[in-house]
Symmetry: C2
């Protein structure tokens, strides 16, 4: 070892993620990243590689974190149906509407890059498949707990829930009032979680 790093890796990655999250990949310049991280070009490149590599890194971290958060949310719900409803309506919970306008980093990434970048496409596809799997377990539990009809395939129901949530996430990005967004989310939850 020689000179130690003068920055905290997790802090830097979080700042990078937030910048990419709010302004997207193409519209984020290296100077933007240097500004929000406080690092010089040399440090950033030596530590994380080029812009695209850095992007994929923070995006992958984000996906892992959301999977963990979702698992925790569902596990912490005594009744699975409540966890599913919380998942579905989560994008409409911030009263300020700021979270809704910002959307989901993975969704934004998919929208911007999936059609042009095979790595982002497969990452996105795998992430949503995994999310469906996580939710499918909760759906099965909700069925066992008598809160959800056993007529439908858990996997299928989970995919419908994921899909509906992405719709809510997107409508938040259009600037729809949070109160209306929440109302829509509750309506959809009533129709889907029954």
């Amino acid at each position: 070892m020689a000179r130690p790093r003068q920055f905290d890796e997790a802090t830097v990655l979080a700042a990078v993620r937030d910048q990419f999250w709010t302004t997207g990949y193409a519209a984020t310049s290296l100077d933007d990243l240097l500004r929000v991280t406080g690092l010089g070009k040399g440090s950033l490149y030596a530590a994380f590689g080029d812009k695209r590599g850095l992007y994929l890194r923070v995006l992958g971290d984000y996906v892992d974190a959301t999977h963990g958060a979702l698992r925790a949310l569902l596990a912490d719900s005594p009744r699975a149906i409540d966890g599913l409803r919380r998942y579905l309506t989560a994008p409409a919970q911030d009263p300020s509407g700021a979270d809704a306008l910002r959307g989901c980093f993975l969704v934004n990434s998919t929208s911007e890059l999936a059609a042009a970048d095979a790595d982002v496409l497969s990452l996105s596809r795998n992430a949503f498949e995994e999310r469906g799997n996580i939710l499918a377990e909760a759906v099965a539990r909700a069925q066992r707990e008598g809160d959800l009809s056993t007529g439908t395939d858990p996997q299928q129901a989970a995919r419908a829930i994921v899909t509906a949530q992405q719709g809510i996430v997107f409508m938040g990005r259009t600037g729809l009032d949070v109160t209306e967004l929440r109302s829509v989310a509750e309506t959809l939850a009533d129709q889907i979680l029954s």
Copy 2:
């Protein structure tokens, strides 16, 4: 009048729209636009102004066209409920999956620019509000025709339908298999249109 234009305006605008649609705003260079239109810089600028103006122009045209197509779809449905279902499942109809991967130009635009461009944001917000209004009429008709419960507010139900469709559009962009996408769309339609 003097020298007449050597290009067809509608053809050029369609080519520009398709380019922006598939590669987004930032990732589309002027050279890309010149290539797909066959025009020189001077012609393009003289006819349509700068890149952003051109983008807003084709996006506005697109929104108008989709509103017209939606009105036609609903009007052409003897029973409103069928039109609503067709609207909801439309993003999953292309067997090749190409349309699904491409998504919706307005959705892509909103995802990329709404957070940073107030004009795009209000255009998007207004467009989806208008779409909700169009669908609300069809919901009311479906209620009168006895195909939809009269218990729910048409406006509210319409917003739920719009939201669900955006979820389907997005899942298509993740590369989800078209057959699975269609299955999800049908599941959601069953749950929402009842």
